[in-house]
């Protein structure tokens, strides 16, 4: 596939969009200098990239210039004590041998400085967000991205639409009391689908819970989704978990677990196994912005870095963790900056730009697999829906904020404009698709609802590989109870 250097059709698209709700971190007071941090001294990891490994090198290769600027900045003279001038010589290869100028320390030599400098708590500029498509669906001038062929693009668009309709219909089904719970991915369709499209089916997914689009892309059918939500006998989880806790071994998609962030250190272990088996595949581990506050997030990143484990961490920063805004979740410039502290290469991407996500994930995946080390991607988006069917988000956030993201920043609308402009998608196709997906979903729900629940024996199965004696005994006693009190028990669970 060719690398495109595409030109914007309208100058207006060059204008930097304002992101409405992401709070600006405070600019550091000027007396604290923070050049070291700001300039990415640790550039060694960038140096190993080769063109062969990277299909879109534009994403990150800009560091040599920064390095020389850094060295220049450091070359200055300053006073430490009255009357005494000492020349500060920055770290460089030439003075490696000077014991007084640098400390030989595990991890590499650390140069000495006379300046008492604190690394700032914030850079003076926020990390920018990689983007390809403007809000109008035009490639932004100067943006470089890998072309997506028609077939893939159309499949991506169709999948995004399918995900949206599935969310709407299942959400409604919950409102009608037909399923007990639901949670939509509304607003995050591009992250879901574009990520899936950029991976191969061998890549192992460790989801949080707002990523059903990956399964959808991999061929998990609408019927399979419905079966899980209804907890019927065809549900792979055998009705044991709440709706939306999908899992599919054949799709390399680990079963969702409600406790937040637990999957992240596990991801390092799964990836280490792929590494030892020399697999041409990586682990893709998702977290929300809220999830990054858990200890497991930090454990996961650090383990992956130290073990050189091929994990692609994707943080869906959607601004909210239930009612908690990111300003109460962390004071850093979002999540992307946390990677570097763990020695993990990181990038921020516009999560509502399907093309940008696609390109980012492709490039990141190449690095993860060919360099055998983790990468962190922070995708900026917005949770357009309520947290779940148990939540009413208008209690804690302005309706016009939701509306803004639902309309002006809609990821489907943006991608649709692009496929449309390419002549790959028509309005007729759109309405036909929507009609047909709706029909399939309503049918899937009906089938799932009619189907029996899993048999009672399944309640005791899978606690262990085999039934131990305590469970044998409990099953027997339960069956006797059921015989005595049949009216106490649901009739749709075969006993």
């Amino acid at each position: 596939m060719a690398i495109w250097l595409s030109r914007s059709k309208k100058i207006a698209h060059l204008l930097k969009p304002k992101i409405a709700y992401f709070p600006q971190p405070k600019i550091a007071p000027s007396e604290f200098s923070y050049k070291i941090y700001e300039n990415h001294v640790n550039s060694s990891s960038f140096g190993t990239l080769s063109g062969e490994n990277i299909r879109s090198p534009h994403v990150f290769l800009d560091n040599s210039a920064t390095m020389s600027a850094l060295n220049r900045q450091w070359r200055r003279t300053e006073s430490t004590r009255a009357g005494e001038q000492v020349e500060t010589v920055p770290y460089s290869d030439d003075n490696y041998e000077d014991e007084n100028q640098a400390l030989d320390f595990p991890g590499g030599r650390v140069s000495f400085t006379h300046e008492m400098k604190f690394i700032s708590e914030a850079a003076d500029k926020r990390i920018p967000c990689y983007r390809v498509l403007s809000d109008d669906g035009y490639p932004i001038a100067g943006s470089r991205f890998e072309q997506v062929d028609k077939e893939t693009a159309v499949k991506m668009y169709k999948s995004m639409v399918t995900l949206q309709i599935m969310d709407n219909i299942f959400y409604e089904a919950q409102r009608q009391g037909r399923i007990s719970f639901y949670l939509t991915s509304t607003g995050e369709e591009a992250i879901n689908i574009a990520t899936a499209a950029a991976l191969t089916s061998d890549d192992v997914i460790l989801p949080q819970y707002r990523e059903p689009g990956i399964l959808l892309w991999r061929g998990f059918t609408l019927q399979e989704f419905a079966n899980q939500c209804f907890g019927n006998s065809a549900d792979y989880g055998k009705g044991k978990q709440m709706p939306i806790h999908y899992g599919s071994n054949k799709h390399n998609f680990f079963t969702i677990s409600s406790p937040i962030a637990t999957q992240l250190p596990q991801a390092a272990g799964v990836a280490y196994s792929l590494k030892m088996d020399k697999k041409e595949a990586c682990v893709v581990a998702f977290t929300g912005d809220g999830g990054t506050s858990e200890g497991d997030f930090h454990a996961g990143l650090n383990f992956a870095a130290v073990m050189d484990a091929p994990v692609l961490f994707i943080c869906r920063n959607n601004g909210w963790a239930i009612s908690t805004p990111i300003s109460e979740q962390f004071r850093s410039d979002g999540v992307v900056v946390k990677g570097q502290a763990y020695g993990i290469r990181s990038i921020r991407v516009d999560g509502n730009d399907a093309l940008a996500v696609y390109n980012t994930i492709r490039a990141a995946r190449e690095m993860v697999i060919h360099e055998q080390k983790p990468v962190l991607v922070e995708a900026l988006s917005y949770r357009v829906g309520h947290h779940s069917t148990s939540d009413d988000s208008t209690k804690y956030r302005p309706v016009d904020e939701i509306e803004h993201w639902k309309t002006a920043r809609n990821p489907l609308a943006r991608f649709r404009k692009w496929v449309h402009k390419n002549g790959w998608w028509t309005d007729d196709e759109e309405s036909e698709l929507r009609g047909s997906i709706r029909k399939q979903l309503l049918n899937a729900i009906q089938v799932a609802e009619k189907m029996e629940k899993p048999v009672l024996a399944e309640m005791f199965s899978d606690v262990y590989d085999d039934l131990p004696s305590n469970l044998h005994e409990q099953e027997k006693s339960l069956r006797e109870t059921i015989k005595r009190h049949r009216q106490d028990y649901p009739t749709d669970v075969p006993v």
Binding site: G177, G239, Q241, M242, S323, M459, V463
Partner: protein
Amino acid sequence: MASSLRRCNLGLILSRFQSISGRSSNGGTRLRRLSTAMISEERVSPYSEGAGNKSINLFSAINQALHIALETDSRAYVFGEDVGFGGVFRCTTGLSDRFGKQRVFNTPLCEQGIVGFAVGLAAMGNRAIAEIQFADYIFPAFDQIVNEAAKFRYRSGNQFNCGGLTIRAPYGAVGHGGHYHSQSPEAFFCHVPGIKVVIPRSPQQAKGLLLSSIRDPNPVVFFEPKWLYRLAVEEVPENDYMLPLSEAEVIREGSDITLVGWGAQLSVMEQACVEAEKDGISCELIDLKTLIPWDKEKIESSVNKTGRLLVSHEAPITGGFGAEISASITERCFLRLEAPVARVCGLDTPFPLVFEPFYLPTKNKILDAIKSTVNY
């Protein structure tokens, strides 16, 4: 409609966590649960008499207690995930408006952080009232509770303590919670000397016990029966009152068998008692309220009267706190016992969604056990 019938029978689903009473299923499960409020209405307790009593539900009672705790102690703080806007169960509604964001606030999503922060705050002489959103999510904080909070006083020779710490967490079945919104993890914490574990059964109890827990000079883990947040309604005095910790309460007197339980399970047990009565079996029902340190004497004297004991809890039977009660009472009342101690508990499986009605220690399971114990 066949499908809706099926749902009702399952006793599943239908209600959202935030509107349990409004849309709960009308199956057996709901009836079971409703009676907690009934029990409490029947009983006239000394502290509920007089003016200023209003019928409120359990989450409002918790909310009242938190208002009072913050009002009466300027060094009291309330915090946890999503606490600022009122909490996912509405227990902290209005608190941050009233007492300010410095005393009532959201925390980052990190249970070990919440409890660690709370331990530190409490160690400085404050009342740290920390909320864990669901008892199922308390485990990241297990180390802070077990190794830190519980041993803070002991390890320093009483130079330091974090007695102002109270950890609140909704626990237990709710009809549709599956693995991670249903668990009853109390027994893990009962294995930890240095903390107290308290579980209320009704709004009135919740308010008085929570205020006692907050003001108790020891760290307390306070589990709230989330099924009852909206469902249990009773008259609760509006004033500031406390109910004693480590004091069990006989909530129904009887002579043939003693039943011991706590939290939401008591209403299920109460119904079994009522039914057993019809068969001429007189049951004494005791609310343990504080699981550690527990009121062994009250159980002992009741068993010495009845000669039989049944313990019931939602948590899995193996290693549940019922095992401890059973062992202790067997030690103390061995010669008086006329039958083995019966335990009617959750099964030894993870909490299953679809099979919840089968998993739970239902009224009829208890009734059967009462009969077989009495006829042993």
